[in-house]
Symmetry: D2
Subunit: 289 residues, 4 copies
């Protein structure tokens, strides 16, 4: 659904399930003159938790942007013990990209960026190698090289973190960044670091999944985009896709076919994240339509 | 989403879009003690039309089943010029099946029926050939043979219609029935006749789509389930799926591969229809989640 | 590819790779008056192993069926150290089915069987439960009930094996049979027992994969058909397929969606096995086109 | 399959089907000391036509590259009335790109080009608009602007053709070029112009397929890459793929989702073309594995 012209607000809500929540929230928006553009809700009946995403037009809305949160907290959220976050379509978030040596995901992201597909800024590309500096240069994006060794890793990450904070980076995309982040960096961006893993998780976590896929003789390979958490390749999955393979595909062919999957699955995750359509609950994602 | 234990009501709504509808409908249910189990809505912003499906638990609901429609009409529907329909999970609909000579869709349906996958009765199987009577017999379903010629077609349909009405059939599934229905029968079951067509419509409507697909050299074949309307293979599409093929697949191989598609795509459509998740608007379907 | 009219022979070959094999084998067939209908080959360049499947028409072939193997061994196979197996389209193999309580795969197989999709006999259905006897009865297939406890398991398998041998069963299909076979039975049918596992292996082996998939929050679920080996769910994979799911799918919905996958993926594996299109090498399968 | 180290030759063959062809061709290669790396064949049993692709290592091959064709013609091709073409992996073909205003396919191609995924040169990008010149500049590819009007179309094409010939262009990729080529240009590059059409052909040929798809209410959209022939969107299909959509997807969303399909399907076709895995017969393609 899209009607991108006018400024909108999006609110993401989770709370204990009880009767009347949808009615209360939609009434809050309608009563203040907001026109609901999109509403999707979900109830986890096992855990009795309610989730909702509502988007509405701000034109003519009776509460100013900087007051919506406060009023919503008092009138609605307190009563239902809600966790919520409020987002405005007018805000253009800052996205940092981490890469190593593989160019395909980076090209895909920068092509979309330049073509105006995403409402986002890319103030920095960070890499543990020099190789992709030329790509950053082609697209006029600042590039910072942080060679990583087991010895200097923590120190380098502290510097990376400083840059991210200085540039007011909202979220990070690991576009085939072949380093495991430390909790230091992960916890500075909770559920704000998106990784692409080149397998259909939970199959083949960790290193060299295409080699493992070939050895196991699977007939499909996949890619999984997920939020990074402290446990490797075990964070909440945002998107996955697969492609059929055959015995004719040796490891280099798997790598070749996988590249298309990786870039599409990563970019779909970034797009959903940008649209504020992702909520994390119990290490799983709710992806609103 | 499922919590199949207790009786539920489902209401399907469409009306001109305006502010406050969701709030009013959900308030109506909550206020009367109903617990909303599922809500999905959609707005067509080009035509300014609003669509909603709400399911709620009837246990403890303050209005008796036979009064819900009347009260809803007065309190809500009149004001918003709603088209709506109300359905109860306690009602087990009657489904008639029409077949010709191909057994695969019929076996798939009857297997699900016997295994209890669907909440439905099958009081009759109707065919223009005798061949599948043995299948009906295996599953103890009454079978009626109506040989059809150009001359007797209308007359046979009148008799078929009489049987459907006598058996209080709610909807009809054409499980590879190779006759074109006349408007007489179609209009007696508006958007209540589900057909499977063995191509990805609108490609290859009409006869022998696998032959046409082979001649055109497509790399995917498909199947489409749709409601039957007067224009052949042009009714609202409920579900579609495809499978990759290659130059190695001759017409018999396409037919072989297509069978799996046909039965899955038809059965998915029947299941959505049974769950009251389908609304038709402007010859298109809204499929609620 | 299909031209099913006349009797054919199929030979499956594997041997150390070297120059000239294809030429020698095809020359052997051509020289004796056989018309090659289908040829597919594969070379594993890492292990230097050559694989080939050739099908040819037997009409007018200069060697009688019962001599082909002997002559081929002397003229070709000895020289290239070939492993090979020879199959005739005129042979209708005996397939036993093992089931427990789930009916969907069994219905799918028996529907195909009755509709004549497969060239196979089904002399017996074996189960550790009584529940599906009624399905076997509907299709007039003998049904044997072998209740299994930890104590009697081995003994029951010995009796099952005796039946399989008495009925000259060629291969076995585990159509959601919820017992782990012992090596005794497995080794009596090397690469001749086809299982369906309800996950995209190697993810979620063992029990309750849908529960694990839900807990992990995956966005796709799958099914895998494979030959049974002594290590649980670790045998050579024949076919896999997946379906997209969402956070809305709870465990019962995953089970519902998975059923369609399971039956299609199992039946595709059986069909490939019947067509002699599967070769096993290093716990992987070569699936000839 | 891949073992990209040493130079290879590829021969594509089609001829009337008869016994012994495979044997003769493979013997020709083996006898001259060539090691077959890949062989795939296909027989069209309706038309009695035989197709084959063979790749072999040239190291140690007993015939020099420039003599292979002549010898093959005399020893093999004449006898079997073969159409054939011979290709060397050492040859790096020249590929021209035509674009209009949409950047996504162009970025995808240039990203692969720069990343070294394809063995190809791109000497020129031609467009009827100025908009994508900046993309060409970023990748240091010459860009020529040919504004096209109904009046100057033929004249512009003549100039385009002159450039293509001057640059010794081997084949042309229409990466969302929104002009219909005239027979003049098409016939200069028979089956050497690859187009991407943004629908699953033959559904929705011509202009605005996403609008048509939305109006028809399909549940899947697709993209098709094909060789350009004189009849619009009716040339031999090389690759197709689809993505599931829903009623929630309005036309802009279809366009957004379709972009990913278009670029992947186009690039897969280019890759197959580059690998010499495509043969055209009767307006269909044989795609060798």
């Amino acid at each position: 659904m899209s009607k991108p012209s006018s400024p909108q607000a999006v609110i993401l809500i989770s709370c204990p399930d009880q009767s009347g929540i949808i009615s209360r929230v939609t009434d809050f928006i309608s009563r203040n003159g907001g026109n609901i553009m999109d509403l999707d809700e979900h109830v986890d009946f096992n855990d009795h938790v309610f989730f909702m995403r509502v988007a509405w037009e701000l034109e003519g809305f009776g509460i100013s942007d900087d007051q919506i949160g406060t009023v919503f907290q008092q009138e609605i959220a307190d009563r239902y013990q809600m966790d919520w976050s409020l987002h405005f379509s007018s805000h253009r978030p800052n996205m940092a990209i981490f890469v190593s040596k593989s160019a395909h995901c980076l090209y895909d992201i920068l092509g979309r960026y330049q073509a105006g597909e995403w409402t986002v800024n890319i103030p920095i590309i960070i890499s543990n190698h020099q190789r992709l500096k030329e790509v950053a240069d082609r697209f006029d994006i600042p590039f910072k090289h942080f060679p990583v060794t087991p010895e200097n890793k923590l120190e380098q990450e502290i510097q990376q973190l400083a840059i991210l904070q200085e540039l007011e980076v909202d979220f990070v995309v690991l576009a085939r960044y072949m380093q495991i982040l430390t909790p230091n960096l992960i916890n500075a961006f909770p559920y704000q670091i998106i990784n692409i893993h080149h397998s259909f998780l939970p199959a083949f976590p960790g290193a060299r999944p295409y080699h493992s896929a070939h050895a196991r003789g699977v007939k499909i390979i996949g890619a999984s985009s997920h939020y990074v958490t402290e446990e490797l390749d075990a964070g909440p999955i945002i998107d996955q896709d697969v492609v059929q393979i055959s015995h004719k595909d040796d490891v280099p062919q798997l790598i070749h076919k996988g590249k298309d999957l990786e870039k599409i699955v990563l970019s779909r995750a970034v797009y959903k994240h940008l649209q504020r359509k992702v909520l994390v609950y119990q290490n799983r994602t709710i992806i609103f339509d």
